[in-house]
Symmetry: C2
Subunit: 165 residues, 2 copies
């Protein structure tokens, strides 16, 4: 049996840097907003995705949803049992509920909802519309302090041909 130890702080930071890299890659490619997510199981990256709302013409193609879809396909399951999800930014309410349905072990994120709002994304307004607290849902969500957490937003702001959604 594989021992499922929780990730260390350096593990969390390492995977969040991958998620931040995905965010930058996707934004630079014009796929969508500057958001990335990575799914990890037993210290192995199962899926890695960026926001593809614009490229896929899919308003649900947020990075976390894309990563959940890819990981579930890779694992052949509609649940992410024993998986941790790393997101470059705090999941929006749609993604939070999508993660609830996917049932990973935990969700870690770098930038917060206020950072997303400052970059022009609706997340804070959406959170204000409901009152989700960390204990509202049976899902473990934790913000991790990572250097460069808001860099994807800074890079996104410099892109002249970005498409707002």
């Amino acid at each position: 049996m594989v021992t499922m130890t929780p990730p260390s702080l350096s593990d969390k930071r390492r995977y969040l840097v991958l998620a931040l890299d995905e965010a930058v890659r996707g934004a630079r490619a014009g796929f969508g907003g500057p958001f990335g997510a990575v799914v990890v199981k037993e210290d192995r990256v199962v899926a890695s995705a960026c926001n593809r709302v614009v490229a896929a013409n899919d308003p649900t193609a947020h990075a976390e949803v894309e990563a959940v879809r890819l990981a579930c396909r890779a694992l052949g399951s509609f649940h992410l049992a024993g998986c941790d999800v790393y997101a470059s930014c705090e999941p929006c309410p749609m993604c939070l509920f999508a993660l609830y349905w996917a049932r990973p072990r935990a969700v870690y994120y770098a930038a917060g909802r206020a950072d997303a709002a400052a970059a022009g994304f609706d997340d804070a307004r959406l959170y204000a519309a409901c009152s989700i607290t960390p204990s509202s849902l049976p899902i473990m969500v934790e913000q991790v302090d990572v250097p460069g957490a808001i860099q994807p937003f800074a890079i996104y702001a410099t892109l002249v041909d970005r498409v707002r959604y």
Copy 2:
């Protein structure tokens, strides 16, 4: 210019019956839970989908999300401008926020969250976890009285090989 009149009650019921038919079709085929959704633009069905969580190994493949994805692909847009969405059951919070991002004109549904809860789906518990009210989100959502609204749940309950998710 096409006049965008709101649907009449008989229109709403007609499209909700299509959504209910999708729900039954999907459940009988073993694709997932007994839920269906239809997207309509200018009195034309743009997309029709059922829950495919089990068939697609995708916990985000609720009927409304599937219908949004298909409709957006068909329309070549990441927004459902001028579209109405008809769902066999009140959208779960994930779907509600997905619909928020998709920005249809309105969302109509047949069965309510209590009907879903009675059939063993988590929706009511999810709604209890946050406090979304009809006016919380800038999206028009309306329940429509339709005969047979809970029939998909009754049929689902008789399926011996249904997979819970």
